[in-house]
């Protein structure tokens, strides 16, 4: 019995110690990852102004990131506006405030829902695409081939993609916001009848400078982080095809998480000026 109790004690000690180690190791891994990501971002800014400009590749990436995401962003934006309007109607009707729906929906969409949802969709579509593409280039030695042929792969692959996402995500957000408002207009007209000019007059009446500009500025940060994380994960992929899947997956998870973190910081900063 005593022997068993000693064994149990021993096992307990063994199980506790590795758990501690795993916690410390995970914490250490997170700090190392943050340091490496910061270094990667530093290299991006270092390479950004170096020649050659790789403008053609930047345009190609902008087309892939921006134009090819229009349909997805447009459809989700329309549904977003429509659903938000339909869902909020009963509550607003209880207070006899149905005329406030356009303003309420506009503020919610432009300030918060539009940028965040569009950024999350792009983290899934664009971020994973970049992670998988660069990851597969890495494991099939295409990045090495670029390097030995005298091309700067970081400039060609990373800088162009991060620049494309940084500049295209805000454009997609504006597009999504406009379509969302149109979805809301359709939603309002499902049960009532509001003219197009009146709906948008109500929308613009309720919007302020402080609603539009900070929301637009934070989209650049969303775009930057989506591109940066996708490139970082893909560029550092290893372990063959398994690594490619991992790069695509973690690119989406980390970019989505950071979109919320940036949003939280942006809200805090904006609230200082309100």
């Amino acid at each position: 019995m005593e022997k068993n109790s000693k064994r149990h004690e021993k096992r307990k000690n063994i199980s506790v110690k590795p758990n501690e180690n795993i916690f410390i190791k995970s914490l250490k891994d997170i700090f190392i990852e943050v340091a490496l990501l910061t270094k990667f971002a530093g290299q991006f800014f270092k390479e950004l102004f170096k020649p050659p400009s790789e403008f053609k590749e930047f345009l190609r990436q902008s087309y892939i990131t921006g134009f090819r995401s229009l349909a997805l962003v447009g459809i989700t934006g329309f549904i977003m506006g429509l659903v938000l309007t339909i869902q909020s109607r009963p509550t607003m009707a209880e207070f006899g405030a149905e005329s406030w729906i356009p303003g309420m929906v506009a503020v919610s969409i432009i300030r918060e829902i539009g940028p965040v949802i569009t950024a999350l969709i792009c983290a899934g579509k664009v971020g994973s695409g970049i992670g998988a593409e660069l990851g597969s280039m890495k494991v099939t030695e295409q990045i090495d081939a670029m390097e030995v042929s005298g091309t700067n792969p970081f400039k060609y692959l990373v800088v162009t993609r991060v620049m494309a996402t940084t500049l295209m995500i805000p454009v997609l957000v504006v597009f999504s916001d406009v379509i969302s408002l149109y979805g809301s207009y359709v939603g309002v007209n499902l049960t009532g009848k509001v003219s197009f000019p009146l709906f948008f007059a109500k929308v613009f009446e309720s919007l302020d400078f402080i609603d539009v500009i900070p929301a637009f500025i934070k989209c650049f940060f969303f775009g930057f982080i989506i591109g940066l994380i996708g490139c970082y994960k893909g560029y550092n992929a290893s372990k063959g095809t398994e690594g490619v899947g991992q790069a695509a997956n973690t690119a989406v998870v980390v970019a989505s998480l950071l979109v919320f973190v940036i949003d939280m910081i942006a809200v805090q900063i904006t609230s200082l000026f309100m």
Partner: protein, 251 residues
């Protein structure tokens, strides 16, 4: 043998002295010493996982060595950075094991890619002529507008070699050029390597474990095992070797 002697008399373009490389506790290159003469085809023969690919990646500084001396075209490649490193790299062609063709580009774009990024800007028609010339040299003129995914393994290797040749390199590093190919295609690739040596007057280091490829292409063979060279000589000399590891390649 006579040919090897003649080559040994010419200038040295790659020299490694006491090169060591480890990945954590895995000592891949333990003490590497060799010289490559101009115009020579040196075959590095060894089992998988003996550090052959790491060896040639060190020559183009894709992997940094831990210690030792490494000179390429009489320049200490370990000290070269950015522009100077790119200039030296532009004289070296690297044929990757997988071919490493850019998946998102056509064959034409793959071939144009390195040449459009050189410091010397060439007119479009001259680039077009160069592309057609190297494709003709590897016998694949009709693949110019195809995507890499439409090509067979052997064709990918040939296009990859064409991409290497377009910069007219003085030194070509071949990483397992015949791996994964059928015996007929392997022979064709080996003969192509020999043709390239004659036509472009290149020097080459060929990493392989394919003894038939070594027989066709080698002026000199060095056998690597466990991170060190264990034998050196011509094909015929090594064939007579009594060393068990060397002998196992010729069985």
């Amino acid at each position: 043998m006579e040919e090897t002697k003649n080559i040994n008399n010419t200038e040295i373009i790659v020299e490694m002295k006491n090169v060591k490389k480890s990945f954590q506790n895995n000592h891949v290159l333990k003490d590497i010493n060799f010289k490559l003469s101009k115009g020579e085809n040196l075959v590095v023969l060894g089992k998988s996982g003996t550090g052959k690919s790491v060896l040639i990646k060190c020559i183009v500084k894709l992997i940094e060595v831990d210690s030792g001396e490494l000179s390429v075209f009489n320049e200490d490649i370990l000290q070269l950075k950015d522009k100077a490193l790119n200039e030296t790299r532009s004289k070296i062609g690297f044929l990757f094991q997988s071919g490493a063709l850019y998946d998102s580009m056509t064959v034409r774009e793959n071939l144009e890619f390195p040449i459009k990024r050189q410091s010397k800007i060439l007119p479009e028609d001259e680039i077009e002529n160069l592309v057609k010339e190297v494709l003709a040299n590897v016998g694949l003129e009709d693949t110019i507008d195809k995507m890499p995914s439409e090509l067979s393994g052997g064709m990918r290797k040939r296009i990859s070699l064409a991409r290497t040749l377009i910069l007219k390199p003085e030194l070509i590093l071949y990483d397992e050029p015949t791996t994964g190919l059928d015996p007929i295609t392997s022979k064709e690739i080996s003969e192509l390597i020999l043709e390239v040596q004659k036509k472009y007057k290149t020097s080459s280091i060929i990493i392989t474990h394919d003894i038939k490829c070594a027989k066709i292409t080698a002026n000199r063979i060095m056998v690597i095992n466990d991170g060190c060279f264990i034998a050196e000589g011509t094909y015929d000399e090594l064939k007579e070797s009594e060393d068990e590891i060397v002998n196992s390649f010729f069985k």
